[in-house]
Symmetry: C2
Subunit: 698 residues, 2 copies
């Protein structure tokens, strides 16, 4: 499952950020399409198609049992004692961070048999959505008549920061204003935030990610992609009435199921001109960028076993992202998809043009949107390459440089991520005690600097200013060799010392970040003024035009906020035959032996030794028609009774195009079956206690 | 595996018969492409790519170990005592014919533990290719200068009949003149013929055809599609020095392997205008025709369990054919394929046009070919629908009516199938003691008559003449109710009685055949004169032009004659991941349980009861890059040592387009692994004796 989405308060820049404002909604929800917000669940469809009418309590229980993993995934509470379930690949970052060369929990797995053995995650924040409030009037109202697009954008952002600050101060809850329906609506989402998260269980990565990159995003599949953490507050496990009870049977074929999770982003309502920009520029460049970084990491990993261990996680994420991008790119090159999207847009525009009032108020939006993309193209290269990407350490340095400058400003004028309401989470990230792998960071910094040289040329002011005539490799080497930023206490001293401390610092990586910062700010300002402001204004018009033309019966594009999808357990036509509704443990062993147990199809020793103890006909993974996308990784699949029946970990290859369009015939969400988790916990991991906590039966 | 090909001496008419003369050869053999004749094996490729140089003895041994099953498949000798191995689906016709409502060997399987228990096949003829001789000069020379195309066709056919007759009389061998390279070459193939074939072993159809129509033509696959017969002569098993020794290990990944078998037909060198005819007319009509017949059979099968048993085999073949046609049709609609083929043809034609002599002699061929297809279209409907299709019984009737007329004529002037050299095989077919299912035949005759009404209209002379104003159902009912043709003795009496007996017969089905015959003959003559003669003449020019332009280094299109393919055991990219080189018994059980053991994924009882006795990691089916097509069903896969390593039973879905083009990347031949056969014989069927005969080890 793709993890290429990030939360709003992360300062990581992102390849598709030009399109962050593409939330939208569909004119007609087809089949079992839709990632629905909890304030507008698809009650009509559920009643008509399944005769199911969820109560307010049912919806609230599912919502409060759902957990956002803020490094890009989803999860759920599955015991009354704060046990939260997610994917191995979502927990992978934390697993890596608590591992060492001597204790490799990624490779060997991890199991805390007692509370004392649980390992604290260095920098994991979990969120539970406890309240939603419509703040559309306040945000839209901030942009006054007569303001330019640039002024309007500033006003909206300031208003959003003010709402968040006010809410944080009055409730103590994490408070995010979320843009929905292309700006047709703005909502305040309040989260209960947890930062004391402890690892309880993870299987070997080999079985969690069985089949590796080849089998990723495909089905039939045989992964046991799960991990368990326990959520603490005040040094005690959270005792939570809202958790999902474990289904004794799992889901049957044809059964109605739900996915409650945090889809990262979709582009289903992005105007055609935006999709063309993605197809012709953004995606090809993003693919090249990732391929280049992947090559740098593979080179580093080849230096030795410890290097290989360190690089394993970023390599996994990059391969995953590349496969996802590849599927999206294929989708955008499909003439049928383009023709379908074009027809839809043309019909919508004709409808708007046919009503004099709509035409006057919204008619210009598409041309304006096109202007923003034209503007973007004019400065695309400096915008994309005058920055450091891929290195966590360099990112920490740049954020510290920005932090000390931003916190001095009025709240509404700060860069995103540094508003008062966001500072706690940002500081939590910046002060993470997670280990820093210097060799790998050096390779990544050298790579991003050299990429700038290759893309911008040696005479670009950024290249000259940042490298000062030296080679990318030299600059990276010096910066990493001399920096003390690996130490969180040093980072804290700089942040506490404020601008004077940062300006005076002779730390070479801080010095590098100081050289990068003005270029970043210049391009950021250009982007806000010439691209984002126009896009937001145009997007809001398109969003409102949709409400006017089609009413408010559909769902907004995904925004890494909590959504409910529904569907049924169902195979699909595949490769000339049919994919089954589920796979079994027989299939796991088949796939392993049919490739001669060779990488990536080797099995952990316990799976070879213990296979006779398993009931091999137990369902392993299963598919449903639920509409999901990257970010849904770790989401629970629940039945009508609100019981846990499965754990989302992927979409099939046919779902990659789901960024742009949902195909009910072949789009499938792939989940680990609830029975499979209990089967391996009890029979292979001697983890009956844990299985008992999950099922309520020892 | 498609079974839609038929041998030359079968009088069954065939949807693609307009294109029977499409044998040809490729300008350059890509990858491991090619179905090579044994007189021109791909020695250069084998040496360059695999360092393998087969000896004359090696080739002869493989050839003489290969067996053609004349109802449309292939096989091989696998023991010194006449044991021949083929697919269950090739033996299915005979299995059905020896089954009864009480003893259903199709469903339950069959195993003769002693020679006495072996069951004689009612009408199975096997051929072994013992000699090949180039007769191009004689056949081409028969068409003299100044002859019209029609006269030339007659002259060629007469010469071919004369060559066959002469050869049969002088050698006692079955002798077929085969058209290769679009008529660029003609070869006399002499076969040792066997007609005393006895069933030895067949598993349950459920396991031979596990996964049914959905999994047919796909991979990964889990079928154990085999059957064993014993070949007798003079009431004793044939003791044969040429048989394939059983490999103790089977084939490894990447290993060079060969397929020796009888691919039915390909259209790789058919001119574009011929492919367009297929795409736009022949295939769509063939598909409708089969769908209609399938619906009629399903309706009949629904009448009861015995009806269902009777209809099982034709339903299987029709579903198989429809899936194959579907794949071919998709291929022909693929713009990439069409563009590739068009470019190739244009380049070839430019080359011919660039040489004054070639242009003069061959340059007109493509336009002539186009004329033949235009002519065909003008009378396509009466040609296709003024005939009885689908009913074996009606076919027997028509052939008897024709037999008595044809045998009176000079040999060279008879319809194909009735030449002196062919009469023995034809009589063997016509006098088959196989059971006739009257109810099913009535349904099929009613269907073909009604199809004629629907396609030609009530006023067509054929419809009027054959139905005489009554309904198709009435005519079919009366014909079947009153006929004695189910009795081979009655058939023999008519054939022995000659034209007077047939003319005087009051048998209502003979009467129906007599009414059909003149229409059939009229359309047949029209087809020969206006279509076939032009096509053969044009085809021969194209074939010669290829020899002139590219030399004689390639292989001809398939013609249900013995061919050698080579390749290696190799997975392939599939559905976003990779298909493994082989599957295992684990996969069989996975597929069964992942569909909840529901049809077509239920398992025979012995497979459920006996699964713990199996080594589930044993390879089950495997794929190789060998170039095969329908008709290759039952072909042995052999290694460099000439040992048996597998049993071809299918191509993957990506190979269906192989009728037109070979794709080395994804085209795969699917075979049962030699180890799988021994595993089930020994452990599930208590057939150690048979396994011992195969492996040479008790």
């Amino acid at each position: 499952m793709s993890k290429y989405h990030t939360v709003r308060n992360s300062a990581l820049t992102f390849v598709l950020s030009v399109l962050v404002i593409h939330s939208a909604f569909l004119t007609s929800a087809l089949a079992e399409e839709g990632m629905w917000t909890f304030d507008k669940p698809p009650l009509k469809q559920l009643k008509e198609r399944y005769g199911f009418e969820p109560t307010r309590e049912w919806l609230e229980h599912i919502r409060l049992s759902s957990v956002r993993f803020n490094d890009g995934g989803s999860g759920s509470f599955v015991s009354p004692h704060g046990l939260a379930l997610t994917n191995h690949h979502v927990a992978l970052g934390q697993l890596q961070k608590v591992s060492t060369a001597a204790k490799d929990y990624v490779k060997d797995g991890f199991y805390a048999r007692t509370p004392a053995e649980e390992l604290k995650c260095p920098d994991l924040e979990l969120n539970v959505l406890v309240a939603l409030e419509d703040v559309t009037a306040r945000v839209q109202g901030a942009a006054k008549k007569g303001m330019s697009d640039e002024e309007a954008l500033k006003a909206r952002k300031a208003e959003m920061a003010a709402i968040e600050k006010q809410s944080t101060e009055s409730t103590g809850l994490r408070s995010d204003v979320v843009t929905l329906y292309n700006g047709g609506e703005y909502w305040l989402y309040r989260y209960k935030k947890y930062t004391d998260i402890r690892l309880v269980f993870a299987p070997e990565q080999q079985i969690a990610f069985f089949g590796g990159d080849p089998d990723n995003f495909t089905y039939p599949r045989h992964d046991i992609d799960f991990a368990l953490v326990r959520v603490y507050e005040n040094d005690k496990p959270v005792e939570n009435q809202h958790y999902l009870k474990w289904s004794a049977k799992g889901a049957a074929e044809g059964e109605l199921v739900f996915v409650s999770g945090h889809p990262g982003s979709t582009d289903r309502q992005t105007p055609m001109v935006g999709l063309e920009l993605q197809r012709d520029h953004l995606l090809p460049r993003a693919i090249k960028n990732r391929e280049r970084r992947l090559a740098a990491l593979r080179k580093y990993a080849a230096e030795g076993p410890e290097q290989s261990r360190q690089a394993q996680r970023p390599i996994f994420y990059l391969e995953n992202t590349l496969k996802a991008f590849g599927g999206m790119y294929e989708g955008l090159k499909d003439p049928e998809l383009i023709s379908k999207k074009t027809t839809e847009e043309n019909e919508f525009r004709r409808l708007v043009a046919g009503n004099a009032e709509w035409k006057r108020v919204y008619g210009s939006a598409w041309d304006e949107y096109a202007t923003s993309t034209r503007n973007y193209l004019a400065q695309m290269k400096p915008y994309r390459y005058r920055r450091l990407t891929g290195s966590n350490l360099a990112n920490l340095a740049l954020q510290i440089v920005q932090y000390v400058a931003e916190v001095k400003k009025a709240d509404g004028e700060r860069l995103d991520g540094f508003h008062d309401a966001q500072l706690e989470s940002t500081r939590f990230e910046l002060l993470s005690p997670a280990p820093v792998y210097s060799g790998m960071e050096e390779a990544l910094i050298a790579n991003t600097l050299q990429e700038a040289v290759d893309q911008l040329g040696p005479n670009d002011p950024y290249v000259k200013g940042v490298l000062g005539g030296r080679s990318a490799a030299e600059v990276a080497k010096e910066a990493v060799a001399g920096t003390k930023l690996a130490d969180p206490a040093f980072r804290k001293s700089l942040m506490d010392g404020g601008e004077p401390a940062v300006q005076a610092s002779t730390d070479p990586l801080i010095a590098l970040a100081r050289r990068v910062d003005p270029f970043f700010r210049e391009m950021h300002k250009w982007y806000e003024d010439k691209v984002e402001s126009i896009e937001v204004s145009a997007g809001e018009k398109i969003g409102k035009a949709r409400f006017a033309a089609f009413g408010k019966s559909a769902y907004p594009d995904a925004t890494f906020t909590l959504r409910l999808s529904y569907g049924s357990v169902k195979g699909y036509p595949m490769n000339g035959t049919q994919a089954p509704p589920w796979t079994t443990f027989y299939g796991l062993y088949d796939r392993a032996y049919s490739f001669g147990l060779k990488d990536p199809y080797e099995l952990p020793k316990r799976y070879l030794d213990g296979k006779n103890s398993l009931d091999l006909s137990t369902p392993l993974d299963f598919v449903s028609t639920c509409d999901i996308i990257g970010g849904n990784s770790g989401s629970p699949v629940v039945n009508r009774k609100g019981e846990f029946v499965g754990l989302i970990f992927d979409g099939n290859i046919e779902s990659l195009v789901g960024d742009y369009v949902y195909s009910g015939e072949k789009n499938r969400a792939v989940a680990v079956h609830s029975l499979a988790l209990i089967e391996v916990l009890r029979k292979l991991y001697d983890a009956g206690g844990l299985a008992g906590e999950l099922t309520g039966k020892q």
